[in-house]
Amino acid sequence: MTDRTLEIDGVSKRYRLGSIGGRTLHGDLTSWFARVRGKEDPNLKIGASPRPSANATFMALDGVSFSADRGDALGILGRNGAGKSTLLKLISRITAPTEGEIRIRGRVASLLEIGTGFHHELTGRENVYLNGAILGMSRAEITSKIGEIIEFSEIEQFIDTPVKRYSSGMYVKLAFAVAAHLDPDVLICDEVLAVGDLTFQQKCLGKMSDVARGGRTVLYVSHNMRTVNQLCSRAIYLERGKLLYDGGVARAIDLYAGSGLRTVDRDLDGMPRGKLQGLLIRMLSMRILGSETMEYQMDDVMEFQVRFRSDAQESRLRLRLMLKNNSSSPVAMTQTEAFEVKPGDRPTLTIRFPLEGIAPGEYGIKLALVGGDPRGRSANYDLIEDVGHFIITDDPSRTEGFLWQEPVWGNFRLGRLEMEIK
């Protein structure tokens, strides 16, 4: 029995940019012919630079090395585009690396693959066999487990009905039952891409910790730092395709928290916004006061300054702040009182934002400058979807000893219930 299940050795993945091919032979031939004659490629989009350079490439992963053993629950952290998904694709052999080597001992399975290869005309039982075989089980292995699988799926009476007559819930249950009985040596779970309802996600998480405790290796990709903290024994941190850290979870989370949009000074002028936004009144910059990492304790106050310019007369302008949670759903809104601006003004607002009542977790900030009329309608002068993220850390002493469970309890912590006991 050996411990090492996975070794990643100097792995890089390069993608070619731009000229991936015209999709049709004719397209490729005309492009090629135009290039030979030194003319402009007729298949390029108008305004696109003519072939950025013959070998413009993008390193999705750049010399990444790490390894994992049995019983490891390894968190993979990084901003969007850091290379997490590419890494998982390479480990699950969907595509090959450009350089380096990946060595695997045992079976790799991913909770993403639930129901892969299910055919709606086949019965539940037939699909269990087919799906199991696609995921790498032998027929004998499936036969030995089929009783358990059917029992786990809770749909015994429908097992010989074609799955096209199943409700979506039954479908997912059956698919999950197969995945759960796969007994992989390396289990991959990408929370960002996970679909399904809340209970299903909980089931996934539960399964993962079981697997890790059972002496297997779990690779967990997530943007939810609290579940990473809960589940993982180790973490790696990726940034722009490079492995920057491999070690304790807490330090990796710190690195993640300090990365990306969570910087103290921010240029708002250059940020993307809607076409009609920021024409008359435009936010220019933002500065966070009193925090380097934008990590806050519960009930802290966030302070920041926003500078903007105005080319319009507006007597009832407000700064509006909207919060989005992990899954980008809106959570809450708050705004300043109305103030007046004149053309040519370049004011700086200093804002105090009490975080009271906001549950632990990671939140995105959406900022807008709105003008309101007395009838209560508002019009956005400027709106930026994502100016940054902040984290509120869990502090059980303030939630009566409970760790906050976002999927179950939501993003708001209300005032304590008052009661009388008779």
Binding site: R4, E7, I20, T24, I94, T95, A96, R105, G106
Partner: protein, 288 residues
């Protein structure tokens, strides 16, 4: 560490070399191959009234049309054989070849979603298709044998099966499967870049049939254009079908001399197919 001595189950490397097919792994996934064969078969005739009967109806109808059009109206000679039997013989073998080819040529395109999520040896797909088609062929073949017995037992029948040649049937079928799959995987590998090839397959296979002695006898070509015969015999399906006919109907045929050429072409096509397929399978998800 003691662990270093135990071998790894999988080593993922960049595309290395030009021939990289893991046959051992293919054997390990045999169960999957057979389950896919079963799926292909069950799914095809679900929700049809006649069900698997379609397997037989299709070639029978085509043969009937050929008998009427080519044998009856055009009056093409059939080497002195009953024309129905003559056409059916070519038809079932040709439809095995062409269905293998056109189905496997869509390997990457129709399995994109699946290939994007799970790894298994990609060759499992074309192999399972070829086997499913073989089952169809065998059912049709059974009917062919029934007709053959009927015609052979007629008094003064020209039909004289050559049992020594019939013994080669399994080899002939394997060659047909390899040829169809070989062309199929070549096309499927190229379609990951050029989608138009997929358009070509449909009518290309149809045109190909006319370059093959399915609806006529190759002796006709030899009689009318003896100079073109070398070119004509480059088509690897011609000797296969002529061999098949000679075996079961007992026609004397000179195109059998070209059998080694056909086998050679088959091997080249298969090899080329595997090379292209192994080049494409590892990274096609990046381009499709």
């Amino acid at each position: 560490m003691q662990g270093q001595r135990e071998p790894w189950d999988a080593i993922i490397r960049p595309k290395s070399g030009w021939f990289d097919i893991n046959f051992k792994e293919l054997v390990r996934y045999w169960d999957l191959t057979m389950l896919l064969v079963k799926r292909n078969f069950t799914v095809l005739y679900k929700q049809t009234i006649l069900g698997p009967a379609w397997v037989v109806i299709q070639p029978l109808m085509t043969t009937l049309v050929f008998t009427v059009v080519f044998g009856g109206i055009a009056g093409l000679p059939t080497d002195g054989m009953p024309s129905f039997l003559f056409y059916m013989c070519g038809n079932i073998l040709w439809s095995y070849f062409s269905s293998c080819l056109s189905e496997t040529s869509r390997t990457f395109i129709s399995n994109r979603a699946l290939f994007g999520k799970v790894y298994f040896p990609r060759l499992v797909m074309p192999i399972s298709v070829s086997i499913s088609k073989l089952i169809n062929f065998l059912v049709q073949f059974l009917f062919f044998i029934l007709f053959l017995i009927y015609y052979a037992l007629k008094p003064n029948s020209p039909v004289h099966p050559n049992f020594a040649m019939i013994a080669f049937t399994p080899l002939l079928l394997i060659q047909t499967a390899i040829l169809g799959m070989g062309f199929g995987i070549i096309i499927s590998s190229l379609t990951t870049k050029y989608w138009d090839l997929n358009m070509l397959v449909g009518f290309g296979v149809h045109l190909w049939m006319y370059a093959t002695p399915v609806a006529y006898a190759s002796s006709l070509v030899m009689a009318k254009h003896p100079r073109l015969i070398g070119l004509y015999m480059l088509n690897p399906m011609t000797p296969i079908i002529e061999f098949f006919r000679s075996a079961y109907l007992g026609v004397e045929n000179i195109s059998l001399h070209y059998m080694p050429l056909s086998v050679g072409v088959t091997l080249v096509v298969m090899f080329l197919g595997l090379v292209l397929f192994s080049r494409v399978e590892k990274t096609f998800m990046d381009t499709v």
